[in-house]
């Protein structure tokens, strides 16, 4: 995989600095030796990045898929779910797996703009399509409006459901920029959260839509 300046744009170290937040956790991040994250190439320059087992290995299928604006050519084990492909092959671990059977919504990603449960979608089903994950939301070292509204409202506790919540809410706001509270609740009803009781999550989506809720 290519590693470029683009990648460092999304590292937490630079992100936190850019956001003007405290330096919390930067030392912590440096101590976690995970593999590097997937590159974020400019949309205008479609680069094919090869991932997966060597082409021609037994039981693999070749496919092309665009993830967060980067075109990948991937050798796919047909058993892989989309969540496994994103997490294990592209190291896009922002997409979480909570139940692995389409009940909790933690794995929600957008496929051509529509929310999909990545744990219950085979990777081969998304050939030729455009995938958007939580990693694409922040840009230029800043949280986007929805992320910032979640932060301000206190929508995050353990945070495991949050990527899925953000993706469901992103799809909603794209389709309906000024939703009602009921519409927000309906759009997020497939995303389970065990920490928050949902109040501050709903509050965050409404604030992001420019309709802050007031007591």
């Amino acid at each position: 995989m290519a590693t470029t300046k683009q990648q460092s744009r999304y590292s937490r170290r630079t992100f936190l600095k850019g956001a003007g937040a405290t330096a919390a956790g930067t030392a912590a991040a440096a101590t976690v030796p995970i593999a590097g994250r997937a590159p974020e190439a400019p949309v205008a320059r479609p680069v094919a990045v090869r991932v997966g087992p060597p082409a021609g290995a037994a039981n693999t299928t070749l496919m092309q898929v665009t993830v967060n604006g980067t075109l990948f050519e991937a050798a796919i084990d047909p058993r892989w779910t989309l969540a496994e492909f994103l997490r294990d092959q592209l190291n896009l671990t922002g997409t979480k797996v909570g139940c692995d059977r389409g009940e909790c919504g933690a794995c929600t990603v957008l496929v051509d703009g529509t929310p999909y449960l990545a744990c219950s979608t085979f990777a081969t089903e998304v050939a030729g399509r455009k995938i958007t994950t939580v990693e694409s939301l922040a840009g230029d070292g800043k949280l986007n409006g929805l992320q910032n509204a979640f932060w301000e409202s206190g929508a995050v506790q353990c945070g495991f459901c949050i990527p899925g919540m953000l993706m469901s809410a992103t799809a909603l706001l794209a389709a309906k920029p000024k939703p009602t509270e009921d519409e927000v609740r309906t759009a997020l009803s497939g995303n389970l959260c065990r920490c928050t009781g949902y109040k501050k999550i709903v509050e965050g989506v409404m604030a992001a839509s420019g309709q802050p809720l007031k007591a």
């Binding site: 999304y10 937490r12 992100f15 936190l16 937040a21 405290t22 919390a24 956790g25 030392a27 912590a28 991040a29 101590t31 976690v32 995970i34 593999a35 496994e84 671990t93 922002g94 979480k96 797996v97 909570g98 139940c99 692995d100 059977r101 009940e103 909790c104 933690a106 994950t133 939580v134 990693e135 939301l137 922040a138 949280l143 992320q147 979640f150 932060w151 206190g154 995050v156 506790q157 353990c158 945070g159 495991f160 949050i162 990527p163 509270e181 927000v184 309906t186 009803s189 959260c193 065990r194 920490c195 928050t196 009781g197 949902y198 109040k199 501050k200 999550i201 709903v202 809720l213 007591a215």
Partner: protein, 802 residues
């Protein structure tokens, strides 16, 4: 009560993370042990100079950061997908583990054949009882990492490590096991107590044991002479925590005696000591990282089976191994909230005063010899001079019991608050007035000592006012519009969590650039514990919040600050943070005022700190940057602190909730129209964090009240619902609208916690279930005694309406 312990035993308790965990979760069962530990630590901890303590702000008005709303430092990583949870860790050469579980509630393996699994390409290790290390893992009853005999459905009996998760799972299915089923009990927990019941975990262990009763006055004679008597039995179900991230550990050996683990745990220091002990290594040779944890709620207290299995498979293969439970595994084998059967009895004197009060409770300890307790709320909320409370623990094959948010107290509050509602009606009083008349505001089991702080009455009156109790309460079944019945209910709660807790240490460091770091050994599991620690430290040392931070994920540099459970983080570890910050401040003022050319020409006690400066109180223009003070030593300045509890302290936390519901008389569906919760938190540290804990706890309580229940079939004692489809937890569609869901923070400043804080994580969960039960009664005029208030029970109750 009043047990004494040798110094050796006290030191052993202090050194045992498993015991720290137990005593944090069950403070009422271990009250004597906690007091002994606190007494000992107080006796050996050097006192801070009085002048430093005196320099602390005395009133809330003087506080700069404590009590404000602070955006959490934990969140940006979680919002961008950059935060790493144990289940996200990817290491070069990492293998994937998969666990084979018992299909029976109680059974033993008579033959096992692993040859086909071992022959599958990509399989690197197969672990069964035949090749497992013969070291016990500290469960009760004693078990190995995998076992031949299973004591609950889902018990771990084998594990596979393979190059990819699909191969691991395929190999697990190729292991051929011949089972002999043994007699078990799960569907009906009382069957375990019947004469002739089979021994369920070991022949030499009785299936049940009665706890020491709590007694006051003379219950029997007071009950005998009561003007009004009533008794009723209430039950609650077995529940699952269902954190979004299942149990997960990644283990990597970095040499024959160096182990690194990424653990989804509520207590990384306990994982470290348990695994060090298991492998016979010094604790310093095990490093545990828990940077982000996808929820716990009590289920991830110490080293669970995922940690042991990952470490053993990694040792067998000499490769890193990830073990991530699947969701059915998580439902079946991690600990459960125990079911309770609670019989209450009360005698009123003078028509409306509780004089005699008795609870006989049976708690399902499950497939371990663990303790259960539902007594604290029943001991604390209402005055009863003549009382008898006793809990009996039963062993069954339902799976391990254990702590889940507020442990046994929601069960006790479920029984008590429906019972009190019934008593109020029998006494001819409004349920709110009857409660306020009988409320207790002293520690009745310690000579009616005053609570260190008590906001119970405030909580009750504030929720009643906010929901409009006086205008909305009506006679049972008194407000039916067509086929919709309106009801309103209230419930109060007190418990031992978030109050008295164990001594713990902390390190706070001022770097040479004047920035402040808390090396917080408390595992952050979603409650914003690190932000709270940062706020306390910045407030105390006197630096800007933007110059402060906290580091929390790594046993490599943080001291053991105890488990994130029992609502103890803010008070116990938070106290240690404050004391460490005071120690740091004292050092800084000493440095600034000493030496050949002191930076400040004054005595340390005449100086103070604020906004990153040390200054002379009488002349604040005489000031020096804290960065210059630290830099003058050539080193960071490090403060250490320990949480010390004064002797003979009575602490408790209190909460209340009120709710309005609408019951559909055709479908039995219950809609929660509104909910108001109030919590006595002493002093909010991060107001945003307190609201988060209250909202989350209340909604989890709504789940316990209306929907959640593990169900067991009668023939094989097998749990039949092990996913969210069949074990529904609340969704966005089940909770009240934003404007109708209110939290009220009650702050009767407590003398012991940092800046007067008490804990808040657990108590909000307890009032919702009985408040909903009382509201449903108010709607339809028929009582339901067994939680959850599922639609079938509500429909059956509707059929009984007059």
């Amino acid at each position: 009560m009043g047990k004494k312990f040798s110094q050796a035993r006290i030191l052993q308790m202090l050194d045992d993370p498993d015991f720290q965990l137990l005593s944090a979760e069950y403070p009422d069962l271990y009250a004597d042990e906690i007091e002994a530990m606190n007494d000992y630590v107080r006796s050996i901890t050097p006192a801070l100079p009085e002048w430093v303590k005196g320099a602390a702000p005395k009133s809330q008005q003087q506080l700069k950061f404590v009590g404000t709303k602070v955006k959490r430092i934990e969140d940006p990583a979680r919002l961008t997908g950059n935060g790493v949870y144990a289940s996200d860790v990817q290491l070069p050469g990492m293998l994937y583990g998969y666990i084979v579980r018992s299909p029976y509630a109680h059974a033993t393996i008579t033959a096992i054949d692993t040859s086909a699994a071992e022959a599958l390409p990509g399989v690197r290790a197969v672990l069964t009882y035949k090749n497992a290390p013969q070291t016990k893992i500290g469960t009760n009853p004693d078990k190995f990492v995998v076992n031949q005999e299973a004591h609950c459905a889902g018990d771990e009996v084998a594990a596979v490590a393979a190059e990819d998760p699909h191969t691991a799972r395929e190999a697990a299915e190729l292991i051929k096991i011949t089972w002999q089923e043994l007699p078990g009990v799960a569907a009906d927990i009382k069957a375990a107590m019947a004469a002739g019941a089979p021994a369920l975990i070991a022949p030499n262990i009785s299936n049940y044991s009665a706890g020491t009763p709590v007694k006051r006055g003379d219950f029997d004679s007071a009950y005998g002479s009561a003007s009004l008597k009533y008794e009723q039995t209430y039950t609650t179900a077995t529940l699952q925590h269902t954190p979004l991230e299942r149990h997960c550990t990644v283990a990597r050996w970095e040499g024959p005696d160096r182990l690194v683990m990424w653990a989804s745990s509520q207590y990384m220091s306990s994982v470290r000591s348990s695994l060090a002990s298991y492998f016979g290594m010094p604790r310093s040779h095990v490093r545990v990282l828990s940077e982000n944890v996808g929820g716990g709620f009590g289920s991830k207290g110490g080293a669970q089976r995922d940690a042991y299995i990952a470490a053993v498979l990694a040792q067998m293969t000499q490769r890193p191994v990830k073990v991530y439970f699947d969701r059915p595994g998580n439902f079946r084998t991690s600990v459960h909230r125990y079911a309770e059967i609670m019989s209450l009895k009360a005698g009123l004197a003078g028509g409306n005063t509780i004089n005699a009060y008795r609870l006989d409770a049976i708690g399902d300890g499950g497939a371990n010899k663990g303790g259960t307790s539902s007594l604290p709320p029943v001991q604390r909320v209402y005055t009863a001079g003549n009382a008898f409370f006793q809990e009996t623990n039963v062993i069954t094959n339902r799976g391990q019991s254990g702590p889940m948010r507020c442990v046994g107290d929601p069960q006790g509050t479920w029984a008590q608050e429906i019972f009190i509602d019934e008593l109020a009606e029998k006494a001819g009083m409004n349920p709110l007035d009857f409660r306020l008349k009988n409320i207790a505001e002293v520690d009745q089991d310690h000579e009616n000592r005053k609570w260190n702080s008590c906001g119970l009455r405030d909580c009750a009156t504030k929720v009643a006012t906010a929901i409009g109790w006086s205008s909305k309460w009506h006679k049972p079944a008194g407000k039916i519009n067509g086929r919709k019945a309106h009801g309103i209910g209230i419930a109060l709660h007190a418990c031992g969590h978030g109050s008295m807790s164990l001594p713990m240490t902390c390190v706070v460091r001022l770097d040479r650039d004047g920035s402040l770091d808390v090396n917080n050994g408390l595992t952050e599991i979603g409650g914003g514990q690190s932000t709270a620690a940062m706020i306390i430290a910045a407030e105390t040392v006197g630096v800007k919040l933007t110059d402060a931070s906290a580091s929390w994920n790594d046993t490599g540099f943080t001291p053991d600050a105890g488990v994130t459970a029992g609502s103890r983080g803010t008070i116990s570890s938070g106290s240690a943070v404050r004391n460490a910050a005071l120690d740091l401040k004292a050092q800084l003022l000493q440095i600034a005022t000493s030496g050949a050319k002191p930076m400040l020409n004054a005595k340390p006690e005449d100086c103070d700190t604020g906004d990153g400066y040390a200054f002379v109180k009488a002349d604040p223009s005489q000031k020096v940057k804290l960065a210059d003070v630290a830099n003058s030593t050539g080193n960071p300045v490090i403060g250490r602190g320990t949480h010390v509890v004064p002797p003979n302290t009575s602490m408790s936390v209190f909460s209340a909730g009120a709710t309005e519901v609408e019951v559909d008389l055709d479908t039995g569906e219950v809609t929660i129209l509104s909910y108001v919760g109030a919590n006595d938190v002493g002093q909010a540290i991060n107001r945003l964090g307190v609201e988060q804990q209250m909202e989350g706890g209340i909604v989890m309580g709504m789940g316990m009240g209306l929907w959640e229940e593990m169900k067991y079939e009668a023939q094989h004692n097998f749990p039949v619902n092990w996913n969210w489809e069949n074990y529904p937890i609340p969704t966005t569609l089940d909770t009240p609208k934003w404007a109708n869901f209110q939290t009220i923070i009650v702050e009767p400043i407590d003398a012991i916690g940092p800046y007067g804080a008490k804990g808040v994580g657990e108590p909000p969960i307890s009032p919702p279930p009985p408040a909903l039960a009382n509201a449903i009664y108010n709607a339809i005029g028929v009582r339901i005694y067994d939680a959850p208030l599922s639609r079938d029970k509500v429909l059956a109750a509707i059929k009984k309406m007059k």
